[in-house]
Amino acid sequence: QETRTIAVSVPAATHGWTGGVVYHAQKAAEEIQAAFPNIEVIVKTSPSAAAQVSALEDLTAAGNLDALVILPFSSDELTGPVQSVADAGTFITVVDRGLTDPEIQDLYVAGDNIAVGSTTAKFLVDNLGGKGDVVVLRGIPTVIDDERIQGFQEGLEGSDIKILDIQYANWNSDEAFSLMQDYLAKYPHIDAVWANDDDMLLGVLEAIEQSGRTEIKYALGGNGMKEIIEKVMAGDPMTPIETPYPPSMIKTAIYMTAAQFNGQAPVRGTVKLDAPLITKDNAEEYYFPDSPF
């Protein structure tokens, strides 16, 4: 039987969520290779867009690539290079961030960053009674971060909820802790906090606990980190909800890509993962105790 090679290119594990992506990608690779000896899955991580482009060149240099599963660092920068890979006849699966030219991809497993922001915003609008003061922590200046913030702002439109402040905390719990301390010092009254990633939420929660401030009703995150899901399941009043953005989407994508080499017809098109509200009721579905994220 002919050997098939699937390359998986993802960002390096620089923080919790990308760590989760790498974890799930490697898990999928192991499982598929164990189940189907004729399929080889190579997972490669890259710390920057430029490095990811390099990795694509390296992976295709040998010329025996059958499929590529890629979670692009950013859309604009990776479009051209992925196009070159596609031109060689490789099956292309794009995960999470779409390319600027959707014609290139065969399969698109999409997360919805805008929905992560807007779902959270809608929750706040509903539960704060349409008005209140919130502070926001954002990550590293990239497309994901930008989309989430954009979604959040759109979600608040029409309500009287005011964003007091938005600052970068680089998706880092420590920086989020510091930033939250400073927010607390700066604003005597805060109704809710939104950290656009769960890593940061951990820091935020510690800072709130330390301050002893009681007026803060909600501290919300996003991404579906298991520690936060646990809180939701436990009915934590401050973090009653969560928006998933499961790093396991990479696993889904790899499986769907591999399926065609296993006798099944290739799946093409778009698989959209929405970002539903996780509440106490459905939290169980989103809880993966074995995942590092």
């Binding site: 919790g16 200046p141 880092n172 927010y183 510690e206 995942s291």
Partner: protein
């Protein structure tokens, strides 16, 4: 001639003040004044306490860096070393809980000090035995430590066992006679550091090695040993910082300590220690660490800076702080 020999007590006070030594404190004072103008809440006790407490990690590590830098070295690995030793400590404590209970904390602390010292030793030996630029060696070990913590945590995080959180918590959040523990720890580290650097033979040798390696060699000082010990001290300081760090968020992640190396070196340099080696200034270093944290705090407290430009303003302030120092030196 010899009658002209010094009677230092008669020199005017102003001339006896060592301007290099107090430069960072002048910069700090100016920063505080600016802070109050920007936002009166700046001086609120909670805010000041928070800021100073937060600066403890950088301050503690930077005390170690003062040794390394004044002995003519440089350590870029401190940030990822923090993450690595934190991970080791947490994993060890978690493993020990079943058998030791709360004592796991003590055991973990002892262990992390050893691990930190070993990491420093590793850096130091490669630098001195391999005779390679410290910049390159520690850039290499920076990658190594960072990769190890990522590997240990599978890219996720390594949380501290729940049962240990409460007993460990006071190490960051607790106070003693009203002063937060991390502040006390960093004062203690700085005191010990200052004692070692200024009042022991080792400290003297350290400065001599940094000032002129040849003179040190000709004076019977084992240059390699001194440099290595400086790296070990750096490792121990990293371990101490890690001990204070864990109770704060109760976990180690691949992002722990990211870019701390730059902050640490900046604190040391703002504090008046020259990067080319020679004289180290422990108290200046501590002031430098507080300055950095305070700048970050002011960025948040001020209302007129776009979030996009925060880094730019910080950069400008750091440069200005250095200028303030430079010119306060020439009264």
């Amino acid at each position: 001639m010899s009658d002209i020999a010094a009677t230092p007590s008669r020199e005017p006070l102003l001339q006896r003040i060592n301007w290099v030594d107090i430069g960072p404190f002048i910069a700090l004072a100016i920063l505080v004044m600016v802070g109050v103008l920007i936002n009166p809440d700046f001086l609120a006790p909670t805010n000041i306490t928070n800021v100073v407490t937060r600066s403890a990690f950088i301050a503690i590590i930077a005390v170690g860096a003062t040794f390394v830098i004044s002995s003519g070295g440089l350590d870029l690995s401190v940030g990822s070393m923090t993450a690595f030793v934190t991970g080791i400590m947490i994993m060890f404590m978690n493993a020990m809980v079943p058998s030791m209970g709360g004592n796991a904390i003590i055991a973990g602390m002892a262990l992390v000090l050893c691990v930190g010292a070993l990491c420093g030793l590793f850096n130091g030996l490669i630098v001195t035995v391999g005779k390679i630029e410290p910049f390159i060696v520690t850039l290499g070990t920076m990658g190594i430590f960072r990769a190890l913590i990522t590997f240990m945590s599978d890219g996720g995080n390594i949380p501290l066992d729940r049962s240990l959180r409460e007993p460990f918590r006071p190490v960051y959040y607790g106070t003693f006679v009203g002063i937060p523990i991390p502040i006390l720890v960093s004062i203690a580290v700085a005191l010990v550091g200052a004692f070692i650097l200024y009042k022991t033979k080792f400290g003297r040798r350290c400065a001599a090695v940094g000032a002129n390696e040849e003179v040190a060699r000709f004076s019977g000082i084992s240059v390699g040993r001194i440099r290595t010990i400086a790296f070990v001290i750096q490792g121990i300081c990293v371990a101490i910082a890690a001990i204070c760090y864990v109770p704060r968020l109760g976990a180690a992640t691949p992002t722990t300590g990211q870019l701390w190396e730059l902050q640490v070196i900046t604190a040391v340099v703002i504090g008046g220690t020259a990067l080319r080696g020679g004289k180290g200034r422990i108290w200046g270093t501590v002031a430098g660490a507080v300055i950095l944290e305070m700048i970050a705090n002011l960025m948040v407290l001020s209302n007129f800076i776009s979030e996009y430009l925060v880094a730019a303003v910080q950069g400008v302030i750091i440069i200005i702080a250095m200028l303030v120092q430079r010119f306060s030196k020439q009264p």
